[in-house]
Each structure stands twice: as C-alpha cells, then as structure tokens.
Amino acid sequence: MDLTDEIVINAPRDVVYAALQDPEVLRQCIPGCEELIKHSDTDLEAKVVLKVGPVKARFSGKVTLSPDNPPEAFSLTGEGSGGAAGFAKGGADVHLEDRGEETLLRYTAKVDIGGKLAQLGSRLIQGTAKKLSAQFFASFAETVEETEKA
C-alpha cells in the first residue's frame, strides 16, 4: 500500500523537525498510541491500538529513524505485530521544505499489511490509513503551532 500527502505547518522548519523527533509529541499525535519509548536518537518502540473495519488490535512495534539530511529530509522504517490480527511493516520518506515562517511537509510511505487485517480489511486499509495519517498530521500541526505561539 502506498500513501503520499503533504501539509503546510505554521512553524519554521527546525521547529517542525525537532517536534518530529520528540517522543512525547508523537505519542500525543499518533491516533491510538498508548506508549512510545525512545531508546535512542534512532530507535523507538511503540504500542498502538488500531481499528480497521471489524478488526481491532494492539500493535507492538519498533521504529527506526534515519536522519538522512537534517532538517530537510529523513526517513523511517518500522515493523509491528498485532498478534492474531496480523502484522505490518513499512517505511516513509519525509521531506521538509523551508518556507520561512512556514514549513511544507511532504511524505511518501509504503506499508505492507499481512494476516487477518489484510484479509478482512483489504478494501478498507487504504482509506483507513489515509484517514489515520491525516489525523496524525492535523494533530501534529496543531501541537506544533500551539507550542510556537506560546
């Protein structure tokens, strides 16, 4: 499954970049995120409750950040298991464009889903993923903008 989108955030690029690395910000903004532990600058561990159609599951996963070219671009890869509900793995490339007081955030993500989630929800996954990532970025933008105002 491929996802791509972009969003304009009302904050300078280095602020956006820092927020993207902040585990507390991420935990608040990721829909269904119960736990997010940063083991190092590049290794995160997360527990997220995900619902796709009739399948609801708690996913435990690892995410690895690769700051390719801070603060312009970075990528991340991850994999998670939802037990009997299935598994997921994938990665995303994030690109931040400096627009002065604003930042244009663009991302392309590629995710593979397997198990019951894929069987039951295959037609719903694309739509659900789009909705969840839109939710994330809306929350993220709001969080960053509020912190900026303060």
Partner: protein, 805 residues
C-alpha cells in the same frame, strides 16, 4: 415392448418410480430446520477445538509459547506438532500421494495454515486462548505464482527437497511436483506443424472455492471403556475416512465408527481429511472426552480444498475449412503448499484428458506440470469431476479462439467437428471410450430453442448501433457444447488410497412389504433418499414411499467410496438396480412356489408376478415379502434381502448444450443475463425435478465462478477474498431464470442407462458465461481475457480495446 395397460399405468404411478418428479423426502426436515448436522451434535462433557493459524504465507516457526493461553479458564490443552510427533501424526498422507503437515512442523507454508490446536470447555474460551498463543515467526520469501516457483531458488518443501521423484514420477525442480502426459506427442506436433491454420492461446481457469453453506467439522468421541472411536463429520467418503483413521491411529477398523449425518453441501470440499479431524480425534483420545471442531467461514475459504488454478496453454490446428486436426495442451497446475488433490491415485491431473471434448480430434497431446506455491493445498473440488471443468473450459475457449482465427461462426465450427452419433462407442485420441452421445441433435435443438440466427442478426445490428453511438451496451452469445466424464470408476484403474472405486447397495425387505436400503454413498443435498428409492420402486415393485434409504454410518452401510464426481447414480445407482433385480429374482421363485407353477411360468408385472397366460392369478410383492418370512420354501432361505457391489465397466459421458445471452455495459462493466438455456443429456432421467434442481444450482455456481468469484492472493500471500464481503456468492438479485431442456441418450453399459448429472451444469455453465463475455467483444478484437469477469475486468477489456474513447 408392449404398451402398458391403464391398470399398469395406474399401479406404476402409485410406485413413484423412475421418471417421476417425486417430491424430495429430505425437504420435510430441512425446510423446518430439523436437519441433523455435525454442529447439532451435543454430547455430555464435549470439548471444543480451535486453531491458531499462521498469518504468514511462508515463515519459520521459531517457538510456540502456550503459557498465557493455558491460563484462560476452561482451556484443557494446546496441541502442537511436538505433541503429535510421538504418534507420527504431525504429518499425514494426502489423497494425491504427497504428505501434509497436520500442525506446523518447523515452518508454515500458506496463510491460514494450522499451527496449534486449542481444546477448551466452550468455543469462546477456545477462541480467547487462540489469541494468546505466542508464536515467533521468521518470515521467508513468498511465492504465489507457479511460473515463478519453477524458476525460484526458494525451497518451499524442505521435507522433500532432495527427493528427485515423487508419487507420480520424476521431479525436475524443488518446487515441481510431477509431470503427467497423455496422448501422442509426435503425431500432434506433426498435425500442428503441417496445418493450414493454428490458433494458440493461454487459457487460465482461476482459483476459486466451493464454499458450501455448512463449513467443515467433526465431533470425535473415544470411549475408553469399550475402546471404540466414534467420529461424526462432514465426510463425503465416510468409509474411506474410517480406513484412513484406522491406518493412522492403529485402532482396528471394527473399533471405529464414522458417521456422516446431514451435510450442508459438499461439492468436493469435504472429500479429503483435514488437520481439524486428526486433531479432534487425538484430543478425544488424550482427554477421554468428545471433542468438536467446526470451522468458521474464513477458516473454510482460507485453508480447505480450493478448486482449479490451472494455466492451460493450448494450440489447436485445423484445415482452412474448419476441420480440427490436432490439439496440444500444456498445463501449469498450481497445487498450493501440499498436493492434496482428491484424485483417483493413478490420475494426478484427474480426467483432464477429456479435453478433446465433444469433438472428433485425430491427434492430441496433454502435458501437466504440478507446482508448489505458498497457497492452501487442494485443487480438485467444486463439481469438477476431477478436472473436467478445467478441460471443458479449455476446449470451449480454444474452439472460440479457433473460430476467430478462421473468421467462422463458432456454432458452425462446433457442428462440423462433433463426434457423430454413429461413431459411438468413441475412442478419443487421449484414451477414453465415450459410451454414447448424439451431439448434433442436442445442438440443433438448442440453437433452435434460442433462435440462434435471430440472435446473431440482433447482435450484428447492435454492433452497428454501438459504432454509430446509439447504444453503450453490447450483446454477447455464449455457446458451449460440453462432454464430460463421470462415474469413477472401474476398479482396474480407479482407486482412492488403494480402495477400488466400486460402490454398493444392500436391501432388506420387511415382512409387511416395506424396505430399507443402505448405500455406500452419502448425499450432501443430492436427494439420494428420494431418487434411489425411485430406482428400487421400479425394480422391485415396492412403492418408493415404503422404502427407507440410509447412508453414512459405517457400522451399518456397505463399503462404498462416497459421493463426489457425479458417481452416485452411475455406480451406486447401478448397484441399487442390480440389488433390486436380485430381490426380484428371489421374489420370482417365491411367487412361483405360492402359485404352484415353475419359476419360468410367472412373469413380472409392475408390482407383482402373474402366471403367464393367466394374469388373474398373481402374487404382489407385499404378499411375496410376507411369504419370505412365513413359508418354509424348499431350496430357499427365509428372508428377502440382497447385496450388490458394483464395479463399473466404464465411466459415463453426460453431455449438454448451453447458450447464454448477455448484455454488457461498456462504461460500467456491468453484465445482465438476458437468457440462459441449458440442455442436458444425462441418459435415463430418474427424477426430472431433481435434475432441474441440480442444473439450477450448478449453473448458479458457474455464474459465480465466471462472473466474479475467486480466491485471490496478493504478493505477500495474503488471501484477499477470505470473507463473503469479497468472495462472490450470487443472490436472487444476480441470478436469472434458467430454461432447462433435455435429450435422452442412455448409457449402453449402465443397468438403467443413467449417467449422472450433478456436475454437468458447472462444467457447461462456466464456458457459456465466459464465452458470452468474449463474444460481446469479439467484433472489437478480443481473443482471451481471464476470468472472473467482474465489472472492473469487463470495464478494463473495454478500456483496452479503446471503446471508452
């Protein structure tokens, strides 16, 4: 033969024998919800089993942790391969000479594969525990394409990776199963090389699934006191299951009782032995309690016997006038992770070599390569008569492609190539002896019934209108004339795991004139209790309503090979008729004794024996039955019963002509069946109403298969169509009215001339629907587009042909 008198007609009618549309006796309980299915069985202390299934299509199993699962209240045990290994039951033999894992042994090979078996006091506790079993998987590369499998370094079957030959001969690659050939390769290549016209095409019959209304299941109950194991189950072949259970468990056959109760549809999905059956039996032996296992719909679609998945590369050669000179077919057969095909032992590609169909083809050659992939095991199911659905689809598509190549009408091309009525019994170039047929008569009748010429004129006008922009709907006329092969089969070359494919009937007449007959077959909806009583009514003169037909309990029923491949009427039906004739032969002697004449001085008269020349002196079967228990007849044992085990001399060859008229919307891909005409020739027709029911059901399955139903996998091996949200089952909305018709060409070698009809409608239906779609687009350049023809794929055909411009 003399015409019947009015009195005889009246007495025959009372019997409700062969040829009458006797109402189905089964329907009384089915329509009131009072059937007795496996899930209705409730025993004291019964436990429930459920599977932990692999989410991965290919992975190593590093460890299985059952600790948390065992803490769920009510959980009694969690079985893994380690627990089955000491009993040598972690693997089991398949019907195709391969072996299959019962529970994951080191690795998993398809999504949904059974990894562990949870046993608990109720099904909800079992389901909860399934979620808590922790399995550590290490993913391996997935192969879902058979062509890729044959080129890949990835080894799927590590258990046989060094074996260069299998049950059916040499293996040429670690993912290769067998190569099977039939026919004369040199003569066929010669015919094709020297031909005036050759058409070549890849015809794909996609993977689908029988999806019976009732899923698979079992209740296994080991009685530790008597040492007897009783197993109820969704078994299309209960006696074979008993023999296999005995061989695998070491329990002697007389201590195993297998019962197939009411079965809610089989269609080949319930022929083989599944891990669920083995695990339930083991769990019952270990716990000393009855254990029930029933699948849910996703289990059924993901892990049980699928159907088809044959890639058929065809070459057909002909003279420029359309006379076919040769047929070559190379099949790449996708069998999934284990070869669990339910074929007779000597036929790894079933009866695919019926693929010369209804046509007189002098030279033909077939080569089938079986391949392993990361998909569920199986392949032979869904009213296929052992790959006959694939064969019929193949030849009926090749005929259409040849017609395009010759720029000829496809109905005419068929007619000039039909085997003629005077050529029967007909020896096909691929080794079959067709028993009887009259294809020209059936074809002419079918074409006339739908006004074929009128339809072609209408189609020509429609093409003009389309090109002129007056309509966006195309008209397709789908033709099929199929010949199929059923009634497996002669013991000398047909066996299932060594058991010859005979069948049996045992009849006992009671003193007051009614009877019970037990058969080696088992109905899953085919109305045996209704129709086999009709055979006996005609043969013995006892009314069908006075005859109970029983099947499915191996303690009482004579050994039989079960019901699939339309074999019940050709084989068990023959045994029934012959057992009936043995009854009549003894009845004749009893009648002669009672009438005080010689045996030869009495003659049979519908329901009685009368004295030749003095018909007012007679004894009815009722009187004869009583006498059998009441009289001391010199030279005759008391009682009135007979057994027949029938070894058929040949298969039978039903045939038919189906025509589908379809409207196709070029812009939405939507299809609409305007008319569906089905002419079937199944030889002698026992119950016309039941035959109509079989045709309606089979054509509806064909509609599903051709127009949208599939088992689809993505590249990761995820089953994309594992629920009824995505797996197309037609509803009243999609199903048209069917027009059924018939001709009657009896089988010369069958005691009542009957051939069987259960599978014909699926065999003939799929090509009819598919050919209609192809025919709609023929004028715009379409040659071959793979099924299923769902709306998206039809839209794509139109788009690729430039019809959306």
């Amino acid at each position: 033969m003399k015409d019947l008198t009015e009195d005889q007609i009246e007495r025959a009618a009372k019997l409700k024998g062969m040829g009458t549309s006797r109402k189905r006796v089964e329907d009384v309980r089915f329509t009131q919800g009072k059937g007795n299915y496996v899930d209705d069985i409730k025993l004291d202390g019964m436990l429930f089993g459920d599977f932990v299934r692999s989410p991965y299509a290919h992975a190593r199993v590093k460890s299985i942790n059952i600790e948390e699962a065992m803490k769920v209240p009510g959980v009694v045990a969690v079985l893994t391969a380690k627990d089955l290994e000491p009993l040598s039951l972690h693997w089991m033999p398949t019907l195709a000479g391969d072996k299959q894992m019962v529970l994951a042994d080191g690795k998993v090979l398809f999504q949904g594969q059974e990894v562990a078996f949870v046993v608990a006091s109720d099904r909800y506790a079992a389901a909860d525990a399934v979620e808590l079993v922790e399995v550590d998987y290490e993913e391996l590369p997935v192969i879902v394409n058979p062509f890729e499998a044959l080129k890949s370094d990835v080894v799927l079957r590590e258990d046989i990776k060094d074996e260069t030959s299998g049950a059916h001969g040499p293996r040429n690659h670690h993912n290769h199963i067998f190569t099977w050939t039939e026919g004369n390769e040199a003569a066929t290549e010669q015919a094709i090389d020297s031909a005036e016209v050759v058409a070549e095409e890849m015809v794909y019959y996609h993977r689908t699934h029988p999806c019976p209304l009732e899923t698979c299941g079992t209740v296994a109950s080991m009685d530790k006191v008597t040492g007897k194991l009783t197993v109820w189950g969704t078994f299309q072949a209960p006696h074979v299951v008993r023999t296999v259970a005995s061989l695998l468990s070491g329990i002697e056959e007389h201590n195993i009782r297998v019962i197939s109760p009411d079965i809610g549809g089989g269609f080949g999905n319930k022929v083989g032995v599944y891990p669920g059956y083995i695990c339930a039996i083991v769990a019952s032996i270990v716990t000393g309690k009855p254990v029930k296992w029933i699948e849910d719909r996703m289990d059924n679609l993901m892990a049980t016997a699928f159907a088809r998945d044959y890639w058929m590369k065809g070459r057909i050669s002909a003279t420029k006038d359309g006379k076919i000179t040769g047929l070559h077919c190379h099949v790449t057969a996708d069998h999934g992770a284990f070869d669990a095909c339910a074929d007779p032992t000597k036929f790894p590609a079933g009866f695919f070599h019926i693929c010369t169909g209804s046509y007189d083809i002098p030279a033909a050659f077939v080569k089938v390569d079986g391949v392993y992939t990361n998909k569920a095991p199986g392949g032979v199911a869904y009213r296929c008569s052992f790959r006959v659905t694939e064969a019929a689809y193949f030849i009926e598509r090749m005929i259409e492609v040849l017609a395009i190549e010759l720029n000829m009408d496809a109905a005419e091309l068929r007619r000039i190539n039909f085997i003629r009525a005077d050529q029967f019994p007909y020896q096909s170039a691929l080794g079959w002896e067709y028993d009887s047929g009259d294809y020209h008569t059936a074809w002419d009748k079918a074409l006339k019934a739908v006004d074929y010429e009128g339809l072609r004129k209408e189609q020509a006008q429609r093409i003009e209108d389309f090109k002129a922009g007056k309509t966006r709907k195309l008209l397709g006329i789908g033709l099929t004339h199929f010949t199929e092969i059923v009634g497996a089969g002669p013991v000398k070359n047909c066996d299932i795991l060594g058991m010859g494919m005979f069948d049996s009937c045992e009849i006992r007449i009671h003193p007051t004139g009614s009877a019970i007959a037990r058969l080696g077959t088992i109905s899953q909806g085919q109305a045996h209790a209704t129709t086999f009583a009709q055979i006996l009514a005609t043969e013995t003169g006892i009314p069908a309503d006075s005859i109970t037909i029983e099947e499915g309990d191996t303690d009482t029923a004579p050994y039989g090979l079960g019901t699939y491949g339309s074999r019940s009427t050709p084989v068990a039906g023959a045994a029934t008729a012959l057992a009936g004739r043995k009854i009549r032969a003894k009845a004749q002697m009893i009648a002669a004794y009672l009438l005080e004449v010689h045996d030869d001085d009495v003659e049979w008269d519908v329901d009685r024996f009368s004295v030749k020349g003095a018909p007012e002196r007679f004894k009815t079967m009722k009187e004869i039955a009583y006498a059998a228990y009441n009289q001391a007849i010199p030279g005759l044992e008391p009682g009135l019963e007979a057994v027949s085990y029938y070894d058929p001399p040949n298969m039978t060859y039903p045939f038919g002509a189906y025509i589908c008229v379809m409207e196709v919307d070029v812009d939405t891909g939507q299809w609409d069946i305007r008319q569906f005409y089905a002419l079937d020739d199944c030889g002698t027709r026992i119950n016309p109403m039941v035959i109509d029911g079989q045709v309606h059901g089979g054509v509806t399955e064909a509609l599903a298969i051709a127009m949208g139903q599939e088992i689809a996998y993505d590249d990761m091996g995820n089953v994309k169509t594992g629920t009824l949200m995505d797996f197309f089952l037609p509803t009243a909305w999609e199903v048209p009215n069917y027009t059924t018709d018939h001709t009657v060409t009896p089988s010369p070698h069958h005691p009542i001339g009957a051939k069987g009809v259960g599978e014909s409608p699926n065999v003939g239906g799929v090509p009819a629907f598919s050919n209609a779609v192809h025919d709609a687009f023929r004028a715009f350049g379409l040659r071959q587009s793979h099924m299923p023809h769902d709306h998206w794929r039809i839209w794509k055909i139109a788009s690729d042909l430039g019809l959306h411009a």
